[in-house]
């Protein structure tokens, strides 16, 4: 099938999409946007988190066809040119990035949290990020990064 989808503000088309493909697969393998990650492909880790019509979703759980006509915003669409989004900059500054495989998903999840809750409490941050696994950091520096971003 042919898929029409707006990604990071740009109208995109993918041809020969097999019905079983996920939105994550189409983004990564057909649209040249591998920033969203594929750590589990079963909705458990959050590394594939993207905005779908403004709501964060696990793109591995979205069938490509479900995104037809939708707006998708991925981690690649958060920075303005060279200017990182405050969440991205805070992750770098706070040392919240080690291997970084969880980072794209966490950045999108934290970005969404701060849009909804400008000054989140620690329990609010923890709850918002509970769907995103990180194996490297023990989350301490990730919490620091979100706290830092909230002040910026």
């Amino acid at each position: 099938m042919r898929l029409n989808v707006t990604v990071n503000g740009e109208a995109r088309q993918a041809d020969d999409v097999w019905e079983g493909e996920s939105l994550l697969y189409v983004l990564r393998e057909r649209l040249g946007l591998p920033g969203s990650k594929n750590a589990c492909e079963q909705g458990e880790c959050g590394s594939c988190t993207v905005y779908l019509d403004g709501t964060p979703v696990c793109s591995c759980l979205v069938a490509a066809g479900q995104a037809e006509g939708c707006e998708v915003r991925t981690v690649e669409g958060l920075a303005e040119g060279d200017q990182l989004d405050r969440v991205q900059q805070s992750f770098v500054d706070a040392g919240a990035v080690q291997c970084g495989f969880c980072t794209p998903g966490l950045v999108v999840a934290a970005h969404d949290l701060l849009k909804r809750v400008p000054n989140p409490s620690d329990p609010e941050i923890r709850e918002a990020l509970a769907g995103n696994l990180c194996r490297c950091t023990g989350y301490e520096k990730i919490l620091d990064a979100v706290r830092l971003a909230a002040t910026r």
């Binding site: 591998p34 920033g35 594929n38 589990c40 770098v92 500054d93 040392g95 291997c99 970084g100 950091t137």
Partner: protein, 752 residues
């Protein structure tokens, strides 16, 4: 005593400059091995055994070959070289021949134009198995009656250590039998890589690994190609923790690429990842501690059985670690240790953060608590009474010849103020059971537990452990600029940052670029054993010294007089249009093998120590545990990058927490029952508590900058501290990790 360094360089040693790859990673633009793409590339897939032990009568690939879009279906017949690989002993077939020895063993490969096509073709391969009865118990496997799984029997390695009186007695004796379940590294970036066939008949492989050169060696052996025909470049690595030290897709992807003449990408999904790498050895440990009434240890005797699974991997070295570190960071004159690594039909086990020291650590720390309870002594006091220090003697006879601040680390975590009881407004996320709303505090009991651990740093037992660094220095845009090149794998820990820091400090220049790690430079050794900052850091320091020496010689010619220091403008003046390039191999001081009869020897380069205090809340009705706080104190010799040091301690502590209360690959009858993140749980941000850290910097005079490897020690003491806290809350014996809810309620008692 620290080697002399220039203290103040911005972004140098001791500072925490930003990671050079951080911006790419937060933008989603860092190229991980699973992100690679090539024009015209194919996708590879692997057929794996559904049986833990079976004879293969036949393999029929006919139907798979007929699937449209399939380019190749390969079996062991297509392996051109020796169909074996392995880190220490090549005993694992690249593709199984007539027997499979574990659930998930590779049998055949497919390359196709879509990953789903490849997976469907895999399902069309027909294998006729004669299912055999698996051997699944490590202790039984090394016993006299077990049938041999490999020529030479089921003992991968046995280490015996004896020191002092082998028949010592004591006033108070405590004994226990402990079990450690099979933990998974669960790095987030799946095994993956891209193999590109080259015109010279060789292959270029881009892969996530921990050790490029040992991969290269094994690939050459299997493909029957010389080293210069197999070129590896490190692709972005999404975590490792030991799980990438053995081969996964490496030989398979190269085989498919060479066979089809096309680039081949392989990416495991999460289920296949659980089959595709080795795990932490499950263990059964029998301990007996004898002590005086004041708590002074008289003797320790133990027997440790480590389940190596179907193939050797790094089991021999894990056995040595568990044995030599088997009694923990304590002074004991009379020690007997027997440690076996066994072949079984369980999944192969090898390297995981802590590497043998974790299993022993759970047992000896549980014993120290048991001893404290038997004597009515405070658990920290009994540890302090026996704590080793600089000058102490290991069971191997090795004198610990740098700081061993075991007592101080314990005091640091003990003296920290305790977190307040949860009494304020109800925050469900702080309760056992969390937002499942299983309790509002009723039935919840708090406990506090302590543990301390010891880990060897770098490779041991006489291994020629070195790294290679190449540095190129020239003037670019009027500034001196360095390119540092090693084959050492950045896996997330921040080695790339450390390399830049060392060059800045040693040469006093700002612009330092880290060249991608590849096999065009010499061996960097493994990113394991907490060794890269030590060994590759040592190599980078050494190559800087070589470059500086050259610069100083040139400076004599340029300035007509010798100088001891050169500023950046001096370097520019000296260099002009010249380029200086130096390559240096650097080794740490040598170690020796263990005596085969007594286990005595100077086996380890360096020891690292960490202590934890865990505070837990346990819902005793439901058996749910919430770790409230996990404080750590660790000696790092020199905090090369304080922010990265904390990152290692937090991450390591959390993996230890995972082993304590949730992480286990469930294997029954040799079959893996939970190969997914739905069923194999790793700590989320809600499971992970605040982790305050005290860092000591007691320089090791033998190490570059006095540093001590950081990555592993926190993974060792974290697990027993959490379990000690649960014991304190519940009064239960808890002899097995992970502790499961049924161990805490009456529904099922712990196994021992």
């Amino acid at each position: 005593m620290t080697s002399p360094t220039r203290e103040t360089t911005k972004g140098g040693v001791g500072d925490s400059p930003l990671r050079p790859d951080g911006t790419l990673k937060v933008r989603g633009e860092f190229a991980y091995s699973s992100d690679l793409w090539h024009e015209d590339m194919l996708w590879g897939a692997t057929l794996r055994s559904p049986h833990p032990y079976a004879r293969i009568r036949s393999v029929d690939i006919g139907e798979a070959l007929k699937v449209p879009g399939v380019y190749a279906v390969l079996t062991h017949n297509d392996v051109p070289g020796t169909n074996l690989y392995g880190l220490e002993h090549p005993d694992q077939p690249v593709l199984a021949v007539d027997v499979v020895r574990y659930h998930g063993e590779s049998i055949a490969l497919v390359a196709a134009d879509h990953p789903e096509t490849a997976r469907r073709a895999i399902k069309k391969i027909k294998v006729d198995y004669e299912v055999l009865t698996p051997i699944t118990d490590a202790e039984a496997a090394v016993g006299p009656d077990a049938p041999a799984l490999h020529n030479g029997g089921n003992v991968v390695r046995k280490v015996h250590i004896e020191r002092g009186d082998q028949h010592a007695t004591a006033d108070v004796v405590v004994s226990g039998v402990y079990e450690v379940g099979m933990q998974d590294q669960a790095f987030l970036g799946p095994e993956s890589g891209l193999a590109i066939p080259a015109e010279d008949g060789g292959v270029d492989l881009y892969v996530a690994t921990q050790w490029l050169h040992v991969d290269q060696k094994q690939i050459c052996f299997a493909l029957d190609l010389p080293t210069d025909k197999v070129r590896l470049t490190l692709a972005g690595v999404g975590g490792a923790f030991g799980g990438r030290e053995d081969l996964s897709i490496q030989v398979h992807a190269c085989l498919l690429a060479l066979h089809t003449g096309k680039p081949v990408k392989m990416v495991y999904n999460r289920e296949e990842s659980f089959y595709g790498h080795v795990h932490r050895h499950p263990a059964k440990l029998y301990y007996e501690h004898g002590a005086d009434r004041d708590g002074t240890l008289r003797y320790v005797r133990c027997r440790i059985y480590l389940d190596g699974g179907a193939y050797a991997s790094s089991t021999p070295a894990v056995v040595a670690n568990a044995a030599t570190l088997g009694i923990g960071p304590y002074n004991v004159d009379n020690v007997t240790v027997d440690c076996w690594g066994a072949y079984t039909n369980n999944p192969p086990c090898g390297a995981m953060r802590g590497f043998g020291a974790v299993q022993a650590g759970f047992a000896y720390e549980s014993q120290m608590d048991k001893l404290a309870a038997a004597l009515g002594i405070d658990p920290v006091d009994v540890r302090v009474r026996n704590a080793m220090s600089e000058g102490s003697v290991m069971p191997t006879g090795q004198v610990v010849d740098s700081a061993a601040p075991v007592e101080e680390l314990l005091r640091l975590v003990k003296e920290r103020p305790l977190p307040p009881a949860t009494d304020g407004p109800l925050d469900l996320t702080a309760m056992p059971g969390g937002v499942s709303n299983t309790t509002h505090g009723e039935g919840v009991v708090r406990g506090v537990g302590y543990a301390v651990g010891i880990k060897n740093i770098c490779f041991s037992e006489g291994f020629d452990d070195y790294s290679t660094a190449r540095l190129r220095l020239q003037v670019i845009n009027g500034e001196p600029a360095a390119v540092i090149h090693t084959a050492a794998a950045e896996v997330g820990q921040g080695l790339v940052t450390i390399q830049q820091q060392i060059v800045r400090t040693e040469l006093g220049i700002d612009q330092v670029t880290v060249h991608p790690a590849d096999t065009t430079v010499g061996n960097g050794g493994s990113t394991s054993a907490s060794r890269q900052t030590y060994v590759t850091g040592g190599a980078v320091k050494a190559v800087c010294e070589a470059v500086r020496e050259k610069l100083l010689k040139l400076a004599v010619a340029r300035f007509g007089e010798p100088r001891s220091e050169l500023s950046a403008p001096d370097v520019v003046a000296v260099l002009g249009d010249d380029v200086i390039e130096e390559t240096v191999e650097w080794r740490h001081r040598p170690t020796t093998a263990l005596d085969p009869d007594t286990g005595q020897g100077f086996a380890h380069v360096q020891y690292g120590f960490a202590a934890h205090r865990a505070v837990v809340d346990v819902d005793v009705d439901l058996g749910l545990v919430k770790v409230v706080e996990l404080a750590c104190a660790q000696d790092v010799g020199k905090a090369m990058n304080p922010q990265a040091v904390l990152g290692q301690i937090h991450g390591g502590s959390t993996q230890g927490l995972g082993l304590a209360v949730m992480e286990e690959i469930q294997v029954s009858g040799g079959k893996v029952r939970n190969p997914s993140f739905t069923d194999y749980l790793i700590p989320t941000v809600l499971d992970t508590p605040p982790m305050p850290v005290d860092v000591l910097e007691l320089a090791d005079p033998h190490a570059p900058y006095g540093l001590r490897g950081v990555g592993e020690p926190p993974t060792i003491s974290s697990t027993p501290a959490v379990v000690a806290a649960i014991r304190a809350a519940t009064g239960l014996a808890l002899t097995r990790v992970p502790v499961r809810p049924e161990h805490l309620t009456d529904t099922q008692s712990p196994s021992a």
